[in-house]
Symmetry: C2
Subunit: 284 residues, 2 copies
């Protein structure tokens, strides 16, 4: 059996009781570590589980899935995924491959940022499509996310923006020379996301949002040091939210007063918050 | 401290390790039981936790919240919520009341249908707003959900429809006479939802969907007897998905081939599925 086990969002105790049973009894345990990260080290997980954990990078999952699935008809293999196994990144490929090989699969759900973002006080009913923001480079600033945000904004809906992480990346030079030397991991911050959003708006000029649009920065959702900050995009572009992971929510115009009352508690600046709110929100 | 503890979706072992620690050590444990249900009885939870659980019905949470919060400045109170505490129903009121009283709060996230619905193989990025479907009566058939579905459909997005549950309801007669006699609980089925959707379309005639539109019925997501069925709304209006809880996803036109390959595996009828797909999906 292949088990896809959600680990939840913060640390080793966010696994479910059933998930922990699976991990303790499986023959092999893999940890998917390229689309999200837990806020604790692999070693801490291993100590907690009392057994070794094999880190599965993108390469292994995408081209070595048969290694992961080896023998899984006869023994149990646990594939651990931060958040929910069917959260932002689905592992459809791995499941489909398992089915082709006649290996039964089972999923152990867990918390995902897609619902945990409700900790902001925003109603999940008022969210539109979720989008992803990748790290811009000098020459590559993909803005397809902007079209999705526009669709949401036109309906007055909030947009959850998931932020890029880069793990086990090679520099172009090292890649060209075939050297397996990897750059240190990078996790996008709320400030980087807000400033990239403003950069796209400058370029596209479609008025989907602007420097005075309200947004919420969320860091380490579900952890004891979870941090929420509400402010304009201009303000969030300057904010320091501390260690990863971060997410951002662009507020929709359909936001209502109960949502305002909740988020104003963590406004960077209550004055600019109220001025921005009066300009454009809650009037529907 | 007030702890809002997510229980996950299926049974007593879907609680997280941290959540279980909170439940075992809290002074009082409440179970919110009117917006969703776990697939096991309260008694089973009590046996598993080794302690009594107080069922919190709507009345208690809405007008007796000070009872729930009594003394919570000094002792720990656990408020258990099926799914994620910030899932479809947020308990913002309770948290705001706690804050007014100076009681610190903490949330223990867990799986929610909003991300677990990814088990259908549909990409969560392709979902629009989530809607709720209530039981229609002879005289009350609210169709505001239809406007939200229309907004999603126009963008080609999937819509997750959460289905009504009725717990501890009084008949009009018993209510009028002040008799605290309650009707047996009712849980909407996929078939009821599909047929109510068709009823609304008949009435509104805006062509948002029709009898041949594709949808997915999901029952007991996350449980060992989880069941998924894909078919036209006409087909789903006849389907028997077994015991609660059920949910439904109306497929968006932007659905792509990888999603099709996944869902066709559980089509009621592969022929009608492919005919319906060819008519309207995956062409964007």
């Amino acid at each position: 059996m292949l088990y896809l086990v959600g680990l939840g969002l913060a640390d080793e105790k966010d696994i479910t009781v059933r998930g922990l049973e699976v991990v303790k009894s499986a023959s092999r345990v893999y940890l998917e570590a390229y689309t999200s990260i837990l806020l604790v080290e692999k070693e801490k997980l291993e100590a907690y589980y009392g057994r070794p954990v094999i880190v599965a990078d993108r390469e292994l999952v995408e081209s070595g899935s048969d290694d992961i699935l080896e023998n899984a008809k006869d023994v149990d293999v646990a594939f651990l995924v931060v958040g929910d196994p069917f959260g932002a990144t689905t592992h459809t490929d791995l499941v489909l491959r398992a089915r082709e090989l006649g290996i039964p699969t089972r999923t152990i759900p867990n918390a995902s940022i897609l619902s945990a973002i409700g900790c902001t006080g925003l109603q999940l009913y008022n969210f539109g499509q979720t989008v992803s923001m990748v790290f811009f480079t000098e020459t590559w600033k993909p803005s397809s996310y902007y079209d999705r945000v526009k669709e949401n904004a036109q309906l007055g809906l909030h947009t959850l923006v998931l932020l890029d992480i880069k793990v086990k990346e090679q520099s172009l030079e090292n890649m060209a020379r075939g050297r397996k030397i990897y750059e240190p991991p990078r996790y996008m911050t709320v400030a980087q996301c807000a400033s990239q959003m403003l950069e796209t708006e400058e370029e596209r000029q479609e008025g989907v949002y602007g420097p005075d649009s309200l947004a919420i920065g969320a860091a380490r959702v579900g952890a004891p040091d979870q941090k929420l900050v509400a402010g304009t995009l201009k303000e969030l572009a300057e904010v320091d939210m501390g260690r990863p992971l971060h997410s951002l929510v662009l507020l929709g115009k359909r936001a209502h007063d109960l949502e305002r009352d909740y988020i104003e508690q963590f406004a960077v600046n209550k004055e600019t918050f109220h001025a921005a709110w009066k300009q454009g929100y809650g009037h529907t």
